[in-house]
């Protein structure tokens, strides 16, 4: 699943992620495409605080950073 958080400022990208992480199965991934510079540190911190796995960063076709999280519980 891919969430489009373009133009959404901190803390909205993490809020999107928190609302939708249960939409994927445990063990599956969810990706947030976000251009807010706070998304990079905050998605990693969210994973740590919430017990999910940060699966890394890639780049969307339009150049927007994309952060992938694996649901752990």
């Amino acid at each position: 699943m891919i969430l489009d958080a373009r133009g959404r400022r901190c803390p909205l990208p993490i809020l999107d992620l928190a609302r939708h992480v249960t939409d994927v199965d445990v063990g599956a991934t969810i990706t947030v495409e976000a251009d807010d510079p706070a998304a990079r540190p905050d998605i990693q911190a969210w994973c740590r605080m919430r017990g999910h796995e940060y699966a890394g960063e890639s780049v969307a076709p339009d150049g927007t950073p994309a952060y992938t999280v694996r649901r752990r519980h």
Binding site: P11, R19, P41, W46
Partner: protein
């Protein structure tokens, strides 16, 4: 009564500093380099102030120079150390969590053909002394803060200084001076009188024997380190404030430490989804920082201000560049809903208790506005 809890951005003027400032405006207006009566009186005031400041951190008076403000002091400290040691090396090594003034000086050094090397920090915001020293072994100069301005974590300054030997170490002691003893081992020291209850004034100290060359055009003021007429009334005022807070330092540190411990406990226990940042024990006595999930830092500052509390935030939405704090990013900490509380000479227990009483409600209100409930 509004409570000002942002001492790390500048404490309110100490009553002793105010008194000294007003007296020095009358007595210390003349140029201290002049040989007539008024000039000689100004010179006496300047010398006495310099001696008082030097005595507070074991320096010689001729090692101390005054700058316009803390930022200028940091720029001069770093660029002067690099200029004085350019034959030894063109690399400048600094921690990832230095004040932005140090990072900007590093950019200037790089733009002039130098090299800058950043040493990362752990989750508490601290460099590893061995790693830092290994990186700095062949550097022209290195910079390591005494303690971090955003999260309060102390740095291993003395260990690093011993390990890097002859490489000059610039120590930003901005948040330390006036609150606890400055660590041993600095070659060049920078400070800011606003942080100890003085007026706006920077401080640069260069240890005798350390090579340091002014990055400014030549001028013979302030041992040739900072050009132009020193601002004598602010120097006299800053020295008086430093003496006053210095005399109370140990007791005030204990008092602040107990209040900060109370804030750390209360925030951890009373607010869901919060991270209290920085080292819980090896830290400055008066600074505490935490981040809240699903909270907009700007809304939090506004909500607290409306209830009469002045604090600061490292969240991106509160910065002019919309970038999150480089300190929090380097630590891998949550940057959203970030609040720094910092205490000073006039902070009361009642102010801290009132702050802790309203904080959970302010955080809950911001979360409710964002619809961040039940997550």
């Amino acid at each position: 009564m509004p409570a000002y809890l942002d001492a790390a951005a500048g404490a309110p003027l100490h009553p002793v500093a105010r008194e000294a400032l007003l007296a020095a405006l009358d007595d210390g207006w003349a140029d201290p380099a002049r040989l007539y009566g008024a000039g000689r009186r100004a010179r006496l005031l300047l010398d006495a102030a310099r001696e008082a400041v030097a005595a507070e951190f074991g320096a010689r008076p001729d090692e101390i120079s005054f700058a316009a403000n803390g930022t200028q002091a940091l720029h001069a400290a770093v660029l002067g150390a690099l200029a004085g040691n350019h034959r030894a090396g063109r690399t400048f090594v600094h921690s990832a969590v230095e004040h932005s003034a140090v990072l900007h000086a590093a950019q200037t050094h790089v733009a002039a053909g130098g090299v800058a090397l950043t040493v990362g920090v752990d989750a508490l915001g601290r460099v590893d002394a061995e790693e830092f020293a290994a990186s700095a072994a062949a550097a022209g100069a290195a910079a390591l803060q005494a303690a971090n301005h955003e999260v309060g974590t102390r740095q291993p300054v003395s260990d690093v200084a011993t390990a890097i030997g002859s490489v000059p170490l610039v120590v930003d002691a901005t948040q330390t001076i006036g609150h606890e003893p400055v660590p041993e081992g600095w070659s060049v020291l920078a400070g800011d009188a606003r942080m100890w209850g003085g007026p706006t004034l920077g401080l640069v100290a260069v240890r005798t024997g350390v090579r340091w060359r002014s990055p400014f055009p030549d001028d013979d003021r302030e041992s040739g380190r900072i050009p132009g007429l020193p601002n004598l009334p602010t120097i006299v005022s800053a020295a008086a404030a430093l003496r006053a807070v210095g005399a109370q330092q140990a007791g005030e540190a204990d008092r602040h430490r107990a209040l900060v411990d109370r804030i750390r406990r209360s925030v951890s226990a009373g607010i869901p989804d919060v991270e209290v940042l920085g080292d819980p024990t090896d830290r400055l006595p008066h600074i505490v920082t935490f981040s809240c999930l699903y909270v907009d830092g700007e809304a939090l500052l506004t909500g607290l201000d409306r209830r009469g509390f002045a604090v600061s935030s490292g969240s991106s939405c509160t910065s002019s560049t919309l970038e999150p704090s480089h300190v929090l990013v380097a630590m891998g900490a949550l940057t959203s809903g970030n609040i720094r509380v910092s205490l000073h000479h006039a902070t009361t227990e009642d102010e801290v208790d009132r702050f802790l009483a309203v904080l959970p409600e302010v955080v809950a209100d911001v979360r409710a506005e964002l619809g961040a409930t039940g997550l």
